[in-house]
Amino acid sequence: MSKYDVIIIGGGHNGLVCASYLSKKGYKILILEKNEKLGGLVNCASSLNGFSSKILGDLNIKLPKLNYNSYIVALHSEQQHTILQENNNKINFIKSNANEENQKKFSSLINKYKIYASTLSNFMYEVPPRLKSGKSKDTWQLINMGWKIRKLGKKNMREFLRVIGLNIADDLEDNLRDNTLMGLLSHEAILGSNLGPRSPGSILSLLYKQAIQNGLFASEKYDFHQLIPSLEKNCLDQGVEIKNNANVKKIITTNNQATGVILDNEEKIEAGIIISNADPKTTYFDLLGTEPLDTDFIRRAKNIRTKGNIAKLTITLKENPLIINIEKEKMNAKFIYAPDINYIERAFNASKYNKYNENLCFEFHHCVNVIVANIYYVPYVKNNTHDKEKLIQHSINLLKPFISNLEIENAELITPNEIEETYNVMGGHWHHGDFEIDQMLMMRPFYGSAQYTTPIKNLYLCSAGTHPGGGITGINGRNAAKKIIRDKI
């Protein structure tokens, strides 16, 4: 008999959440983490606002809430910044160059998106139905999902179904005239996905992200440094074993059934259930190997879009940064530079061909004298041929016009390629795959691998590559645990 019931590959937040739920049901669990530190991609994140409060409640974890008014600053190249405030999911204008009509239209547009996002958020906590299973339960669930969309009302439903296929630029240009506001919303729609403002489906991407993170702008609500330690403590309290620096080399299968894993040091560990918190591509191509997988299945796995395009820049300054034309009390804002739709689209165009033009977009915030910035589009390139020195210099040049006292002590940059290598995320994609209509719900990560299951018996997925998707929500881990518990009864 093996010592463990369950092995979870990867100690990211979803792995920890999944372990917590399963251990409550009495499973003996081992978590294998490749790195020294637990948390996976959370270590790469700069804020946390979408972690599911339902899960925190279920697991009885209390995370300290950060209770301040959060500002969003859309930087303007001539220092005429637009300042918004997000308060209880309401967005107010503090300062803007846009006229009143544009501000009004902006607010109504945001309200429209909010309604649609809340419709989508209904689906987050459900294991999506299986298509073509022939089971009435799945059919009912599908009907139920349709009903929830229908509940928007005739007019709203039509509008919802109209916009989900559209690109965000079209909808913005139909409604607004102010470049900064348009850039700002485009930024939120595409950040983290390999889309441009004119890519079809970028509205859906925005809605979906809003649904996941429970708000439009990802302004910090929890102290995210506390998240992983709290989850870890919760796991350890319930008897979950955690092994750091344990890189899984292979998942062992016999007769199409997962039976254990082999570590880098050739150690073999057996368990009845294997859950992979690595992204689906890594799971199938590296950990499992393609041998026991059908060709069509491999094709679909190969074709999920997981190209990342965000580099994370961390710079330490000699003193706290000062932003030109921004008062001190608003310095805890999130700063966004995505000046207009065409600017973003041009940056995206270059990245499509694995090049980057120097005019990139970014968002950043600061904590004391450290600035953490997400720079995009820095494409994922084959063989990691990035010239990092040049990249860092470019990135700093981008920040320079806005910060009056930019004296740098240290600068570090993580490219999508490095994210791939460090966190077992093929392509270095934040969310393990774009949020597009063919990579969502029962199609996430792809047909044949949805519902957290795999073609291999007793091998499950719980990573961001599954429904509902990325962001730091923990819902994937929870849903996977629910599915496993349901399967095993």
């Binding site: 190997g289 026991p292 059908d294 060709t295 069509d296 299945f297 491999i298 044949g448």
Partner: protein, 396 residues
């Protein structure tokens, strides 16, 4: 090769045998096959058919797709690809193989040539590079499309061995069916396999394009006495029906091509259950095929002995109460069997040998159709089973 010769004036490639085939092609009846121009009929299909069954026919099959599979995992890869088990395959052996998609539907069929443990060649009717490459992800194999660099002739008929023997192909009569070897004819070293699409004694000759003319001429060098003929694809189609061989995208729609999912077929529906080895550890489509085997097929491709002499081309099949139960995929008058044969799909109630069904034949008669209700009997798909096909030593 002649790939560079494509232009808007000449949109089709010419095979290395083109000069030779053009000479003989009085009917000027060409067929487009995989981007090549090959002969459909030289003079008349029936005449060429008669040659294949009575002397021998030479068919240019160069356009056939050929893929070389090389590497450490070549055997493992092929075992994952095809439904048969080739664990015990020996060098110089050929196996007929099917490959299916995840739902068990046929992607294509073809022949697998084993040169050694790490070196195989797959020949198929349809393009498969994409399918092979996706199947090969994670395997240490290199797959290369070598279709254009190998010229191929089918040499089929009762005299085929005799003529190769007279050309001093060393002990060709001892070459077993589904085996191949190197032979020298007319000073050209070429590969000859005892394979074919005629259900008759026959060989396939594989050579470098530069050897094509020499090989072609050699085959015809005894024609003063033996009268072998160049045969076109129409004649080949006649002999293959008699032999009960299927053609992908004629008797079924390849899974990669079908727009309508219910047009795809599994090996069980094609009556090729013997080709599926479910004991093998894994191959694409295994699970779906296990399911279908347990459940049984809904319809199946069967052979039909049709009353009368009017081919049941495209006929709809009915039961005694004229309820529709199937459709004919291929039909012809068989000159050798002197009977009216057809292949078609029927519902599972009628797949038993001897079942009686009706075919609704619309026979064209000078701008009008004559409608015939023909009685049919379900028979084995292999209408013609010739002893000489598999005899070793072969007839010389």
């Amino acid at each position: 090769m002649s790939q560079t010769n494509i232009s808007y004036k000449q949109p089709l490639l010419e095979t290395p045998f083109h000069e030779k085939t053009r000479e003989k092609c009085y009917a000027h009846d060409w067929h487009k096959w995989a981007g090549y121009k090959v002969v459909k009929q030289y003079t008349s299909a029936e005449l060429e058919y008669t040659a294949i069954r009575n002397t021998a026919g030479v068919i240019d099959i160069t356009p056939m797709h050929k893929y070389s599979v090389q590497g450490k995992d070549a055997k493992k890869f092929i075992n994952k690809l095809i439904t048969r088990n080739i664990d015990n395959i020996q060098p110089n052996q050929v196996v007929y193989a099917l490959w299916c998609n995840e739902d068990g539907f046929l992607v294509d069929d073809g022949t697998v040539f084993c040169f050694d443990e790490n070196n195989f060649r797959i020949c198929s009717g349809e393009r498969n590079l994409n399918w092979f490459e996706d199947t090969a992800i994670g395997f240490d194999v290199t797959i290369e499309d070598i279709s254009h660099s190998i010229a191929a002739l089918a040499f089929q008929g009762p005299l085929s061995c005799k003529i190769l023997h007279m050309l001093n192909a060393n002990k060709i009569e001892n070459l077993k069916p589904f085996c191949f070897d190197q032979f020298t004819i007319n000073n050209q070293e070429i590969t000859i396999s005892r394979t074919g699409f005629s259900g008759d004694l026959g060989y396939e000759l594989w050579c470098d394009p530069s050897q094509a003319h020499e090989v072609w001429d050699a085959l015809f060098s005894f024609n003063k006495d033996y009268k072998i003929l160049a045969a076109g694809l129409d004649a080949l189609d006649m002999v293959r029906v008699e032999a009960g061989f299927i053609v992908v995208n004629a008797d079924l729609i390849a899974a990669e091509h079908a727009l309508r999912p219910n047009r795809m077929r599994t090996p069980y529906e094609l009556g090729l259950a013997w080709m599926v080895n479910l004991d093998k550890e894994f191959f694409t489509g295994k699970e779906a095929l296990i399911k279908q085997k347990n459940k049984g097929v809904e319809k199946k491709l069967i052979g039909l002995d049709v009353q009368g002499d009017k081919p049941a081309v495209g006929s709809v099949l009915y039961d005694g109460s004229k309820k529709e139960i199937g459709i004919v995929t291929t039909a012809m008058w068989s000159p050798t069997l002197k009977s009216n044969i057809a292949m078609g799909y029927v519902n599972k109630e009628f797949i038993k040998l001897g079942s009686k069904i009706l075919a609704e034949i619309y026979h064209p008669e000078e701008l009008e159709y004559r409608k015939i209700w023909a009685q049919c009997k379900v028979v084995k798909k292999q209408f013609l089973n010739l002893e000489r096909r598999n005899a070793v030593p072969a007839l010389i």
